[in-house]
């Protein structure tokens, strides 16, 4: 192995015998363009709704649900596709997310959610991943379209205006805190509190309380 690496290293650092410097630099440049272009084209191809709904797991579950919501049909005809909300738009973040998505390829190959029942079983976990991601990046994918600077709350209903003024503009909460289930059906929310509180914590509080009560002399 070491001998092979040594041989490879000597080959690489030896000047070229047959090819001219111009050929090597220009060839490298052209090949670089082809490689980079191809890479980005392939990346963009995986970033389309057609690609996402190419698998029945997405088409029959989450995409079918999206179709009934305002992010699919609405009065102005502007709509969000899968990657608009689920893939970051900046290049580095996008690559990071794409690397994470290799886990999803694994899931596809081994059929983790290949039936409706399996999907429903995993729905809470999958939703929690997305909520955690959006919570961590301050609902960046929402804000790519819905900017709070451009939001005219005088055009909103009184209730919406008040809620946005109290929670959004103060930065107290982020979009996903209140707008869970805006584009897909919700998982069993009794196992996941609407606001951040984890079921374990709640159980912990209850257990601590009951234990303290038991310790008290009657």
């Amino acid at each position: 192995m070491l001998a092979f690496l040594k041989r490879l290293w000597t080959t690489i650092r030896r000047p070229s015998v047959h090819y001219s410097l111009g050929f090597l630099t220009l060839g490298g440049f052209v090949m670089g363009i082809i490689f980079w272009g191809g890479f980005n084209t392939a990346l963009e191809l995986t970033n389309t709704e057609t690609f996402c709904t190419g698998c029945h797991e997405m088409r029959d579950n989450v995409f079918a649900e999206l179709k009934t919501t305002i992010h699919y049909t609405n009065r102005s005809g502007v709509r969000a596709t899968c990657p608009d909300c689920h893939v970051p738009h900046d290049w580095t973040d996008k690559i990071a997310r794409k690397m994470q998505a290799s886990k999803e390829v694994w899931g596809k190959i081994f059929g983790t959610i290949n039936t409706r029942e399996k999907f429903l079983e995993h729905r809470l976990e999958l939703a929690q991943h997305e909520w955690a991601r959006l919570k961590a990046n301050n609902s960046l994918e929402c804000r790519n379209c819905h900017s709070s600077d451009s939001m005219d709350i005088t055009r909103q209903s009184a209730r919406a205006a008040e809620a946005h003024e109290r929670f959004l503009f103060t930065g107290e909460q982020t979009c996903i805190d209140c707008h869970k289930g805006i584009a897909h059906r919700l998982p069993d929310m009794s196992q996941s509190a609407w606001h951040e509180e984890k079921p374990e914590d709640m159980m912990g509080n209850a257990t601590a309380f009951l234990a303290a009560r038991d310790r008290m002399p009657n």
């Binding site: 009934t68 919501t69 305002i70 209903s157 009184a158 209730r159 809620a163 209140c178 289930g181 059906r185 919700l186 998982p187 069993d188 929310m189 009794s190 609407w194």
Partner: protein
């Protein structure tokens, strides 16, 4: 001859009455023939004023003064309760569901919403700006009381 004339007149008047009734009957189909589809009326807009409406009688489930389009109410989640539940009202400042919603059929209070009261829009409905199809001559109970009092006073 006389009997024949009477039956003829009777038959004719029946026909006229039937024709007149046909013209006067107003159904949801209006005058569109059965075999054709009527052009639907534009969808009425939901009332979204957030202003609580008067209850026409004390037991009336309060109307929902806002749009509830796309609200999920099923085994997994109840969107209404994210604002109207006991624990949520401090944050949302929405009216809390009444204590009756915690009572089971034996009138025992449970710790959370009883299953028979869980599906909000079985009783609570939003309103639209649609014109009523038929005139409503409902009289508020207060008016009834006033009417009865006035009548008793007169007697």
């Amino acid at each position: 001859m006389k009997r024949f004339a009477i039956s003829l007149i009777a038959a004719a008047s029946l026909l006229v009455a039937a024709a007149a009734a046909e013209d006067n009957i107003s159904t949801l189909r209006e005058t569109t023939p059965l075999a054709e589809n009527a052009t639907p009326h534009p969808m009425p807009k939901p009332v979204n004023t957030d202003i609580r409406q008067v209850r026409n009688y004390p037991e009336q489930p309060p109307l929902i003064p806002h749009t509830i389009e796309g609200y999920q109410i099923d085994m997994n989640s109840n969107k209404c309760l994210t604002c109207h539940s006991r624990t949520a009202v401090e944050v949302s400042q929405a009216p809390m569901i009444s204590i009756t919603h915690f009572m089971n059929r034996e009138n025992q209070f449970l710790a959370s919403v009883t299953p028979r009261r869980y599906f909000c829009n079985q009783c609570h409905v939003p309103q639209t700006d649609a014109r009523p199809l038929v005139e409503n001559d409902f009289v508020d109970v207060d008016s009834v009381i006033d009417y009865v009092k006035a009548k008793e006073g007169a007697n």
